[in-house]
């Protein structure tokens, strides 16, 4: 910690030496407690923010006198802004069926925006998934403010695949890999043909007929042009290579088992999305080895053991079994976002670990969206998307005092 303090002093000193540095861009917030998510809780934390980034966070950091400090210790608790990795907010719910892994949600961003209430409820990042059934396309991670393409944090964050217990879903999934295989085969043949042609051209180049030789030499200069793959083939090839991840939408345990059957030996990165229904039977598969450390996106809802009124918490059970539980609001409505913390709070009061619950609303969602290097936790270098509460975020009486997004206070009256 001492080392950090020195760094900070040095940094502040450097700032002072640079007359061009805008003093208004740099400020610090001191809070009673900061939940970093990535590296635990920091008591009496100081968060130094420059522009839109967190530049330093630590316990009782010494702040250079020139830097404005918002001192809310005791009182405030800081957490990263919330991340909802699965939403259609502001977008049409119509979509195609079948195999369309090339479709991008980023192409329909102009059609709608997200309500400011969602931003003010503390949600900073949203993953917009493609509408439709089968494999309808690729999601995009966006900011909850701004408009158009300026909102995009990252494109192609995951490929959505609906998996139901039926032949159609399984065939759609397998067809993607088959097309990738077909393309690979064609490509290999094409390459072989090109190489054979080359050999022939090389012979021709040594031909006595000058005209023929020159023509061959000219041909030899041309580089190999790979075949253009079908969109589905390209997408499934990048799935195999790990450039693209899949989000598998299921509704019950058997869907998951059928997905594993359809997946076979393929090695791809995937997460699960499952809305929790009243009599969810998901507990059947929670001990599955393949679900360890896997992101399982679910709604913060209780269910009942089938045929009984015995309440079960799938979130707590999956967390205990080792899955990376990730929460999304119960619906895309503004109200659901506003009550999101409260809904998760119900599960926390029922026994879900509160750190895990907070992580499930922030960093895990950011990981699903593959934007965890920018958002999802309070770390140096990440976007300054921070929520300030006047107590435990999950307590019913707690207020969200201020919302900071990329260095700007969206809500909260704050004196610097």
């Amino acid at each position: 910690m001492k080392n950090r303090t020195t760094q900070l002093l040095l940094f502040a000193g450097l700032m002072a030496l640079q007359p061009n540095a805008q003093a208004g861009d740099l400020f610090a917030v001191q809070v009673e407690r900061a939940e970093t998510i990535s590296h635990g809780t920091i008591e009496h934390a100081v968060i130094l923010i420059e522009g839109d980034k967190i530049v330093m966070i630590g316990e009782d950091l010494a702040i250079d006198s020139g830097i404005p400090v918002i001192d809310k210790d005791p009182g405030w608790v800081a957490t990263p802004a919330l991340v909802n990795p699965y939403s259609r907010m502001g977008l049409s719910s119509r979509g195609p069926s079948g195999l369309n892994p090339q479709r991008k949600v980023s192409g329909e961003l102009y059609t709608g925006a997200i309500s400011k209430d969602v931003l003010e409820a503390g949600v900073g990042t949203v993953g917009l998934y493609p509408a439709g059934t089968g494999i309808p396309g690729r999601a995009v991670a966006v900011r909850t403010w701004g408009s158009g393409d300026a909102r995009i944090l990252r494109d192609d964050v995951y490929m959505k695949a609906m998996m139901r217990s039926d032949s159609t879903s399984k065939k759609t999934w397998r067809k993607g890999f088959e097309e990738a295989d077909e393309h690979k085969e064609k490509e290999t043949k094409n390459r072989e043909k090109w190489e054979k042609d080359r050999e022939k051209l090389e012979k021709d180049a040594k031909d006595d007929d000058k005209e023929k030789a020159d023509k061959a030499k000219e041909e030899l200069k041309k580089p190999y042009t790979p075949l253009v793959p079908k969109p589905a083939a390209a997408a499934f090839a990048s799935l195999r290579e790990g450039e693209l991840t899949a989000l598998i939408g299921i509704s019950k345990s058997s869907d998951y088992v059928h997905f594993l059957d359809a997946l076979g030996e393929e090695d791809v990165q995937w997460s699960l999305h499952v809305p929790i229904s009243r009599e969810s039977d998901l507990f059947h598969v929670k001990e599955q080895e393949a679900l360890k450390d896997r992101h399982v996106i679910m709604t913060p809802a209780f269910s009942y053991h089938p045929g009984t009124l015995r309440r079960r918490s799938m979130a707590a059970e999956f967390f205990s079994a080792g899955a990376k539980v990730t929460f999304v609001p119960t619906s895309d409505s503004t109200g659901a976002h506003e009550s999101w913390l409260r809904d998760v709070g119900q599960l926390v009061r029922d026994g879900l670990d509160s750190q895990a619950a907070l992580r499930a609303m922030t960093l895990n969602g950011a990981e699903v969206l593959r934007v965890d290097e920018h958002v999802g936790s309070l770390d140096e270098g990440k976007h300054a998307n921070i929520l300030f509460f006047d107590g435990d975020p999950f307590a019913a009486t707690t207020n969200l005092e201020a919302v900071l997004m990329e260095g700007d206070f969206i809500t909260g009256e704050v004196d610097r």
């Binding site: 217990s165 039926d166 032949s167 058997s254 059928h258 507990f283 001990e287 599955q288 205990s320």
Partner: protein, 479 residues
């Protein structure tokens, strides 16, 4: 009532303690990863199941008092007494289970009063037991509640619209083995419906049959002639009804839906004329024309509880009769039995849905059907109709190990299925499932303790120890 409430509360306590339910704060079991990885690479171990401690009713008429049955990888390999050796029981006793080259499950039914082993029942048709639709290999819901209730009713195989499938539940706690998708569907379509309701449809069926029969005659002549003249062309099938051809060739059953004696006689006559065995569903007035149906070699799918008085304009006998199954059977008609409702019905009037196959058979027995024919009506006969008689329906060496253990005569209305085994896997244990554990509990268990007590007075951790009798059994149940 108080007793019931106490049980209900206990059932909840038991649920809370049951190992499949959440255990907050419990550290996950971490196995030696390397060992686990090694395990995976190996060939799957042979899987043995031995059933003992009960009378084995093979479904062929034999009963082995206190016999033993051994299954290997889902198939029955031995039935008898101690004339065969059971691995892990007759030898390898000292070898720890994880060092054996095989897995052994012992289903000891000696704790079941009046325990009997029967073949798993075959439902001629059902709906909703598999949870899917279309191709069940890709759509089965192996966690389906209705499938569990079907297994609790003793059904292990069911006919579907165009296939025959097993009630293959995902074996609880056995996630090391992959789910056997390919074992779900065991047979294709064996029945083709022939419309027999109106004069026109009867005429049409007869014409198609005549056409197919004529074709078969020319075809057989060609088979003879082609040996002399190899150039001779096979007769054209154009205009010949392919279904009826398949029926006459014995490749598929013609299925008629008929209840009235006139219709039934007509089916019998057309079957005798063209030489095929008709399958008749309904067959309510079959008892009036049983001799004709017997001569035609008919097979009937009955619902013995059907009640309908006869058409009073008729002088002849008619209407439903409780003796229908018995009379048809005595005239040589093979009888399969199916309840009025093909689904699982948890509301309304109990006892008429697919969960009550034996009750339905009980009515036929009340009307005089012999016990063995009663058992056959829910095992071998439907298995034959569905074309899977070589795999299921009886307990014989080489057949699938699909069996149930009951606490008495299967066809007695008070009898419960205690265990159900499908393909050598124990997939239902009455004491472990919510639905019937509390009714005449087999032995002490958390879901249904023999001595009711106030859970508020009992420290939860010591649940297993505070019962006087059978406390060890109670612990076993909780494993």
């Amino acid at each position: 009532m108080i007793r019931f409430q106490a049980r209900f509360v206990l059932a909840l306590v038991a649920l809370a303690l049951s190992p499949s339910l959440p255990a907050f704060g419990a550290a996950p079991l971490i196995d030696d990863e390397e060992a686990a990885a090694e395990e995976e690479e190996k060939e799957p171990k042979d899987r043995y199941l031995v059933v003992l401690g009960a009378d084995i009713h093979t479904g062929n008429g034999e009963v082995l008092r206190d016999g033993r049955l051994l299954a290997k990888n889902g198939k029955i390999v031995a039935i008898g007494y101690d004339d065969f050796e059971v691995p892990g029981l007759d030898y390898d006793r000292e070898v720890p289970a994880d060092e054996r080259g095989y897995e052994l499950e012992i289903l000891d039914a000696s704790n079941v009063p009046n325990g009997r082993v029967y073949p798993g029942m075959v439902a001629f048709s059902s709906s909703g037991l598999l949870g899917g639709g279309g191709d069940y290999r890709d759509s089965i819901d192996m966690f389906n509640r209705n499938m569990l209730l079907g297994l609790a009713a003793g059904i292990t195989t069911t006919g579907q619209t165009s296939s025959t499938a097993k009630l293959k539940r995902y074996v609880p706690g056995n996630f090391s083995r992959d789910y056997d998708f390919d074992g779900v569907v065991i047979g294709g379509k064996t029945l083709s419906t022939v419309s027999w309701g109106t004069a026109a449809s009867k005429r049409s069926a007869r014409e198609k049959l005549a056409g197919a029969a004529a074709y078969l005659r020319t075809y057989r002549q060609w088979q003879v002639d082609v040996k002399k003249d190899k150039e001779l062309k096979e007769p054209s099938k154009s205009g010949v009804d392919s279904t009826m051809l398949a029926v006459l060739r014995g490749e598929i059953f013609a299925r008629f839906s008929a209840d009235y004696q006139d219709d039934l006689s007509g089916i019998a006559r057309v079957a005798m004329e063209f030489g095929f065995r008709p399958v008749i569903t309904g067959c309510r007035e079959g008892w009036v024309v049983a001799d004709e149906l017997g001569r035609a070699g008919a097979m009937a799918v009955l619902t013995p509880r059907t009640r309908r008085s006869k058409d009073e304009q008729l002088v002849a006998e008619g209407g439903s009769s409780i003796e229908n199954a018995a009379i048809l059977h005595s005239h040589g008609v093979q009888v399969a039995i199916i309840p009025g409702s093909r689904g699982i019905d948890l509301g309304g009037i109990a006892g008429r849905d697919i969960m009550h196959l034996p009750i339905e058979v009980g009515f036929a027995i009340r009307g005089g059907l012999p016990d063995d024919a009663g058992l056959a009506s829910v095992t071998t006969v439907p298995a034959r109709l569905l074309g899977v008689g070589h795999r299921v329906g009886t307990l014989e060496v080489g057949k699938d190990c699909d069996l149930i253990v009951t606490d008495g005569d299967l066809l007695h209305y008070q009898t419960f299925v205690q265990y159900t085994v499908v393909d050598g896997d124990l997939v239902y244990d009455k004491q472990d499932e919510l639905y019937f554990a509390h009714i005449r509990p087999r032995d002490d268990s958390l879901l249904a303790p023999l001595v009711p007590f106030d859970p508020a007075e009992v420290p939860i951790e010591e649940e297993g120890d505070d019962e006087g009798e059978d406390s060890e059994e109670g612990d076993d149940e909780d494993e």
